[in-house]
Each structure stands twice: as C-alpha cells, then as structure tokens.
Symmetry: C2
Subunit: 155 residues, 2 copies
Amino acid sequence: MKQLTPERLLDVAYDEALRGLAEGGIPIGAALFDTGGTLLGRGRNRRVQSGDPSMHAETDAFRAAGRRRDYRGTIMVTTLSPCWYCSGLVRQFGIGAVVVGESQTFSGGHKWLAGHGVAVTVLEDRRCIDLMSRFIAEHPALWHEDIGSADDLEA
Amino acid sequence: MKQLTPERLLDVAYDEALRGLAEGGIPIGAALFDTGGTLLGRGRNRRVQSGDPSMHAETDAFRAAGRRRDYRGTIMVTTLSPCWYCSGLVRQFGIGAVVVGESQTFSGGHKWLAGHGVAVTVLEDRRCIDLMSRFIAEHPALWHEDIGSADDLEA
C-alpha cells in the first residue's frame, strides 16, 4: 500500500491545475481529503471557464465535497497558498489541515491559518512554482483580476 | 429622488433573505452595489436549496455580479455579520464597504475588516435580528452546519 504523504495528495491538486490550464483557465487546483486519504472533492479555479469569480480552486473542491457537518478531520490540498477568501473558508469551517503546493508566486493566509490552529504544510513544490510563474508572466491582467489586485492593473 | 442610505440598501438583502426562507433555506441575503447605488448582484444562502455549502449569501451576490476588475467602489450589503469565509472574500477582492444588517445572532469578521480599512456599518436592524433568532431557534443543527461549528452539534 502506498504511503499517504503530502506530496501524493498534492498530485491530485496539481492534476486539477493542469486540467484548468488545458481549459484556458487559471492553473490552480485543490482537493479535499479525509485524514485516511479518501478523496472527498476536487476542483480548480473556474473564473475563465465558468465566468465565475467565486470559484477559486479551494472553493470548488469544497463545493464538490457536498454538505458535511464536521471538517476537523479533513485536509485541504491546494497548489498555491490560499488567498484570504479561501483561507477564510478553511477557518470558518474548521478544516483541520492544509497542504500548500507553493507560496513563492503568491502568499495568502496560510500563516494566519497556522496561527489559528490549522496544521499547515508548505511544500514549495517545483512543478507548482514553475506552473504559476509561467502563467503569471503570460497572463498578468487575468491573474491580478483573480486576486483582486486592482492597483497592479493600473501599473 | 430617493436618498441612498444603508437602510435602503439593506432592504434588498433582506428581501433575498425572505426569499431564501420561503424556499426552505437559511434566511441570509446579500447584495453588491456600486457607490452610486446601482445593484451589481444579489443572492442568498443556498446550502439547502442547491446542496451547495460554498454558497453563502455574500458569495452568491458576488458571483451574480460576474467578473470585475476592481471592487474598491463597491458595497457589500448582508443581513448578517459576514463569517470568516465571506469576510475573506471582502478582504481579498478589496470590496470598499460593508453594510451589516445585524451582528447579534452571529459575529464573524466585520471588525477584522474594519481593521483592514473596509468601511463597515452595522445597523443592528430589528427585522434581521428577529429573522435569524427565529431561524436559529427552530433549526439549530442546520445553522451550526452552515457556520462549521461542529462542537455545537455535539452538545
């Protein structure tokens, strides 16, 4: 039996990011697991594909997992440091752990979550860094739209 | 011409809350306006109606407003103090102002937002307080599910 490691969980989120890229979307993926490694839901950023600014990868994975009463025994895995919106999701619903693919191209609320008792693992995975670096370089306006950084749009 | 007041903006969010209640849902409504009072999007909690735990009222109103590049000149109006998830949405996208119907039955991140430069107005509107008070008393498990308070479920 294969060992349950953060890196193996990240593979699922990374696959979602690649699917998003192939669709012409912003390549950020996420997945929600239970602590036994069972996949509860997976998703990706759908701003471009669905014209839906509320569907960040973590939110899409959370939605895919359906209604649940208790998230303490769940792990949110995301290719990129969760923004404040997605960090708020993790905090409000008491998701117990977060695995972050990388926090080099964008740093959201993962340290804030760690300070509120969430078990946070940051992998600084090379594939994730390269994927987002390329995307941001090629599509800066779309990226800034996705994180609400209007100041950068005007630069 | 009618004056643009927080109370008038709240009427739209309250109407959404009543629609949600009539649908058998959690009665929380929200609306996004520009500073001139133009309605950009309105929505309500859809956990019950759509089986979608990611559709809090503020998120639904944000989604209904579609893709935008700059939220600084927008006002999010909600019948209830925004939870961490919805507060994170406001912070990440730089929504400039928040009007809160009430913070008596639940207090989320509205003070945190005020500390991060968001113009927050709390009305403590009697209709909103009564609506949520009744709902929580009648549907405590559903309410606790919606805010991720698993501890309360076990009590």
